[in-house]
């Protein structure tokens, strides 16, 4: 396929980008002992982007013959040509890039294909049974396994030629507990880039069940948090969510051009000096994290992009178009979800770097506050950095000690004000490695991580769904 695409690109007039993407997915869903879904879904095709006279055109096809791909290329070029007419602000050009040419195999000792679907379904069915057996108050369970195994070839007429192999499995456990008409649910998930044993390296199915069941049951007897501005300690998972949702989106260069709050602020202090925040698709920096992208869909290799360095805004996340606009190098963040999607600026693994304070000391310094862990069921953030997240697991801190669980906590605020309020950064670090997707017109597998952090924000209670 790589040779075929290289041949077609060599014969193109003008700039083109050809991307072959084969995705083989499996989905196994079991709810209350019944198989809701056992599905295998293949999605294979070629997407072509053409650039003519300051405008892009995109065409995709499932006809993988030379003639079929050639036709898609012609369509993309003719669309770009047509679009160039009414286009008002022409794109001046694409930034030069050092392409990550070559073949990139998936790094794992235990490929997903070495395990049969029967083995995977058996695990899902057994785990679902464990959820309902975990506690008499558990009334409903759902367990699912999903994997995406990708092969990509990316070729551009200006020299990119990349072949990539990727696999991203995920496992989810949902427990619903009920007492006297009151319901509470808890979802525990794990997701990685890698193989079967990588998926369960940090969290086992039994561990996910134990946690989900305990959290669902404990919430039934938990009280509500008292609202207001307060000192909180965020766990690494929630730090990852904050870094991604509340800050990461505001530094995506297409959003910056659309008027995000970070526009014109490069070089300015935006956070506490304790904060250094980065994005990286590299497996070396983020081993088995969900958002690993060794080379992006424009052929640009992963790097470590420092977004905020000791509190100062240093960079946005770019594709080749916005890099040219800002006169910088592309950062390896152009990603398309399937062959029929055009690449957009997306995060990969977004994280805040570890600091120096031990966890116990951080908690010990809080007289009255909350220890908040993980993202709950709701969350939203705007390009002005205002955010509201539900918290999965919240504990009251009293006199320097983590005490009782509270239920239905939400946090809200402005992400940059929250970053400015950080007065302690933990000496630990963890990737979130969850099963979720980021949405921006297209889904994308991303990850977030960080150390524990202490800061000030607004906590609120909320009604349960």
């Amino acid at each position: 396929m790589r040779r075929l695409l290289e041949g077609i690109a060599a014969g193109a007039s003008g700039w083109v980008e050809l991307r072959y993407h084969a995705r083989r997915s499996k989905r196994l869903v079991v709810r209350n002992g019944q198989v809701e879904e056992s599905a295998s879904i293949d999605l294979v095709g070629v997407g072509v982007r053409a650039f003519v006279d300051g405008a892009f055109g995109f065409a995709s096809t499932t006809d993988l013959t030379e003639a079929g791909i050639g036709k898609a290329m012609q369509v993309a070029q003719s669309i770009a040509e047509t679009a160039a007419g009414p286009k008002r602000k022409k794109v001046p050009g694409l930034a030069q890039a050092t392409f990550g040419n070559g073949v990139f195999p998936l790094e794992t000792d235990d490929p997903l294909a070495a395990h049969t679907l029967e083995e995977k379904l058996d695990l899902v069915v057994r785990t679902d049974g464990l959820v309902r057996a975990a506690h008499p108050s558990i009334v409903s369970s759902e367990v699912s396994y999903a994997e995406m195994v990708d092969e990509k070839v990316i070729v551009t007429s200006d020299g990119a030629s990349v072949q990539l192999h990727d696999a991203k499995p995920a496992f989810r456990v949902l427990a619903v507990a009920e007492t006297a008409g009151d319901q509470a649910m808890a979802l525990e998930t794990v997701g990685v880039t890698g193989g079967w044993s990588d998926l369960f390296a940090d969290k086992t199915p039994e561990g996910l069940v134990e946690k989900a069941a305990r959290l669902a049951v404990d919430q039934l007897s938990a009280g509500r948090p008292s609202g207001g501005v307060t000192t909180v300690v965020l766990d690494p998972e929630l730090v990852g969510v904050l870094a991604h949702e509340a800050i990461g989106h505001t530094v995506e260069a297409d959003f910056v051009l659309g008027g995000a709050i970070t526009a014109g602020k490069i070089g300015e202090p935006v956070a506490s000096e304790l904060v250094t925040m980065c994005d990286s698709g590299s497996a070396k920096i983020a081993p088995h994290a969900v958002g690993i992208v060794p080379v992006d869909d424009e052929g640009v290799p992963a790097q470590r992009t420092v977004l905020i360095e000791r509190g100062v805004l240093r960079s946005y996340l770019h594709n080749r178009e916005t890099a040219a606009h800002f006169g910088v190098a592309p950062t390896g963040n152009a990603r398309a979800y399937t062959y029929s999607d055009e690449p957009l600026i997306r995060m990969t693994n977004t994280y805040i770097e570890a600091g120096e304070m031990p966890f116990d000391e951080m908690i010990g310094g809080v007289k009255d506050g909350y220890y908040l862990c993980g993202l709950g069921q709701s969350g939203q953030a705007d390009s002005n950095a205002e955010f509201m997240f539900g918290v999965k697991e919240a504990y009251r801190i009293r006199d320097g000690k983590v005490t009782e669980l509270v239920r239905g906590a939400t946090i809200s605020g402005n992400a940059f004000e929250t970053l400015r309020s950080i007065d302690a950064v933990g000496d630990d670090f963890r990737w979130e490695k969850s099963s979720g997707f980021c949405g921006k017109g297209q889904p994308a597998k991303t990850d977030g991580g960080g150390p524990h952090l202490r800061c000030t924000l607004t906590i609120g209670g909320q009604q349960d769904a």
Binding site: S38, V75, I79
Partner: protein, 445 residues
């Protein structure tokens, strides 16, 4: 692709799966060829074209079900094998069955030959015209987003019970999101949608005019008033607030899971007698019109709520078998997924009177053009912000209001419908009137 080819591939795949010893097989094939042009921030952003063929295979082995899907026609044989293999390892469920085979009567005029000639350049031109129109209506309008999409496609279905059917169709959809700005004041945004099955029926001007009108009407909005009483929901607000709950409650799948409170409510009153809800899969010109559903059951006109009484739940073959009912041809979804349950052309039947007449006998109320909030489909509780809202005072539309929330319960609101308009609008594949509701809590800042 000529229609025999797609259907032939489906038939071949049925035979392949049978050779792998499936008891029953269903193969659903889809082709789609589309062009789409997008306007953002007053400029053309990207134009896209897509050509895709995909197949979904359901294999039944001894009451066990496996599903596999591919868009790589060369791998269809392996996909059939995968579906059978998945079925073998899945637990038995006696309700996993093919639907009963019934005669399919084709629907006229689903496919406009002129649509096949519709090129990417036509979609780009249409999107550019939508932008120019918005700018010509009023310079204060900001068109945040607009799109125009044209697609032609074919669906085919073959199963081991001898069903073999295919249908071609064309579809145009278009819409816009706009705000209005005057000095430092920015209105709330409004969204409008339109669609057509034929080139001649395209009217991309209408949603642009509506979106501009609505954005301009909410300029200069100020906090309103707090009261408990009458609200008038636009068709879009009906879709935002009411339709989701109706579809959730009407899904037989949710009834089976014990999540629908209408599980055993057939014949009972669930809403005011002014409400009649119909799903018409064969509606002439309907955006979701087709001769058969995702499982090959013939589409029909199905009353779901008649004069406020629950007439039927929406069933596919699985739920029909599990609940001892007949399928309502509500199997939904694409070749990429197992058939679910969903509506085709859902409509609330028109009432009497114009919008002005619905306003005329309201001493105090609120017209709500969009609702942004949560409506819990199980409890019915809703709360959220109103967008592009306008006060009603002494029977007339008064000033625009901002920062106004509404809260209540959808089940209760359905019983307190006091008016249904005669005119209706297309919101996606729903055809909806204005609905006037009583007893809703309105809270202003």
């Amino acid at each position: 692709m000529p229609s025999e080819t797609l259907l032939d591939r489906c038939r071949e795949a049925v035979e392949i799966a049978q050779r792998h010893e499936a008891d029953d097989v269903e193969v659903y094939g889809q082709t789609v060829e589309s062009v789409n042009s997008v306007v953002e921030k007053h400029d053309l952003q990207i134009a896209k074209s897509q050509f895709e063929t995909s197949f979904g295979v359901r294999a039944f082995v001894d009451g066990r079900l496996g599903f596999a899907s591919t868009n790589d026609a060369a791998r269809l044989g392996e996909t059939c094998r995968d579906a059978v293999a998945l079925a073998r390892i899945s637990p038995q469920d006696p309700h996993n069955v093919l639907p009963e085979t019934q005669e399919i009567v084709p629907v006229e005029d689903l496919f406009d030959p002129k649509a096949a000639e519709f090129a990417a350049s036509d979609a780009v031109r249409r999107a550019a015209e939508m932008l120019s129109l918005a700018e010509s209506i009023d310079r204060r309008v900001i068109l945040n987003d607009a799109w125009f999409e044209s697609s032609v496609g074919e669906t085919a279905l073959a199963n081991s019970a001898g069903l073999a059917i295919a249908e071609k169709g064309s579809l145009f959809t278009y819409g816009a999101v706009a705000t209005a700005r005057e000095g430092e004041t920015v209105s709330s945004f409004d969204f409008q949608f339109g669609g057509a099955r034929t080139v001649d029926a395209i009217d991309a001007e209408a949603p642009i005019r509506r979106v501009c009108e609505s954005a301009l009407a909410s300029l200069g909005a100020k906090p309103g008033e707090s009261f408990k009483g009458t609200v008038l929901l636009s068709p879009q607000a009906v879709a935002d607030l009411v339709v989701g709950l109706l579809l959730f409650q009407l899904s037989a799948r949710n009834a089976l899971r014990g999540r629908s409170r209408w599980k055993s409510a057939l014949g009972e009153s669930v809403a005011d007698s002014r409400l009649t809800l119909v799903d018409d899969g064969r509606r002439p010109g309907g955006l979701a019109t087709s001769a058969f559903d995702r499982e090959g059951t013939p589409r029909r006109r199905q009353r779901l709520i008649a004069g406020g009484r629950l007439d039927a739940l929406m069933h596919n073959a699985y739920t029909a078998r599990a609940m001892g009912e007949t399928s309502t041809a509500s199997a939904s979804g694409s070749a990429r997924s197992i058939p679910g349950i969903g509506p085709s052309n859902l409509e609330i039947l028109p009432g009497e009177g114009s919008l002005d007449e619905l306003v005329a006998d309201v001493p105090k109320g609120l017209l709500i053009r969009r609702f942004s909030g949560n409506a819990n489909p199980i409890s019915g509780d809703f709360s959220g912000a109103t967008k592009s809202a306008q006060l009603i005072r002494e029977g007339r539309l008064d000033r625009a209001v901002s920062g106004t929330m509404i809260a209540g319960n959808v089940f209760e609101a359905l019983r307190q419908i006091s008016g249904v308009s005669a005119n209706r609008e297309q919101v996606y594949n729903y055809t909806l009137p204005y609905l006037r509701l009583e007893g809703v809590s309105v809270t202003s800042e």
